[in-house]
């Protein structure tokens, strides 16, 4: 059961990679990287159960956090064109 789902996850990794390569706009690529990170989290969680060591679930959680941080960094880069600027003047505040 875990084997089949692992191979399906690997196939969706391949699809995310294809969409990152052939995606026309920048946003396609950002979305593809985000999907790829999510699929990696799923893969690591599944791999733990596949090898009968579900302790790997913690690592999958940390991967999810890192993926979130890098997506925020990319989007912030696009909003301000810079990594060091802040949005104190704006009403919404920083992310």
């Amino acid at each position: 059961m875990f084997e089949i789902s692992t191979f399906i996850i690997l196939f969706s990794m391949f699809l995310a990679l294809v969409s990152a390569i052939i995606g026309k706009t920048v946003y396609d690529k950002i979305l593809a990287v985000n999907i790829f990170g999510t699929v990696t989290v799923l893969f690591i969680a599944l791999f733990g159960f596949l090898t009968k060591r579900p302790e790997f679930l913690d690592i999958a959680l940390v991967y999810a956090l890192i993926n979130f941080i890098s997506t925020i960094a990319i989007l912030k880069f696009f909003e301000y064109g810079d990594m060091s600027s802040s949005s104190i003047e704006k009403e919404e505040g920083d992310i």
Binding site: L10, A20, G37, V62, M83
Partner: protein
Amino acid sequence: MIVIYINIIILFLLIITSIAINQQDNLFAATMLTGIFSLLSASLFVCLDAVDVAFTEAAVGAGIALILFLGTLASIKYKEKVKNKVSVSGLLLVIPTGFLLIYGIHDIPSFGALDNPVQTYLADRYITGSSKEIGIPNLVTSVLASYRGHDTLGEVTVIFTACIGVLMLLGRSRGDYRGIVDKEES
């Protein structure tokens, strides 16, 4: 057995990603693909039971390196200057290096074999002898700092060099970059 197939698939995806990074002339797209590359290699490290390395790869490769790349991209232009010329000296350097690396594989014991040094005597030696030989109570520290001392020194040198490179790129003011790019274009 199934883990081997998973490894093969991930290695195949890594090859596709690296070829795609090479073909990109848009630097932003190449940065995104680099993030995918490090996530893939982190999955590969998990499959190879090197969970700590996978952890570092995900944090550094997909997290910090991506942010550093983007910070550098904020200072320069997005498009790479396309060079169609084939560099002969580069080829002369790369091909023998590749042959040397493949030649070096012969000495490495096969992956997961039972008669590997690590399965027979190495782990026992570390567990029983390291506190006498090195004098550090922590096993991991004595392996990293003494048995693999040269390896760790090399890693630290690489990290230091990379840090200097990034600081040199980011430390200059924006005006300098515009000047350089305009001169090259005109």
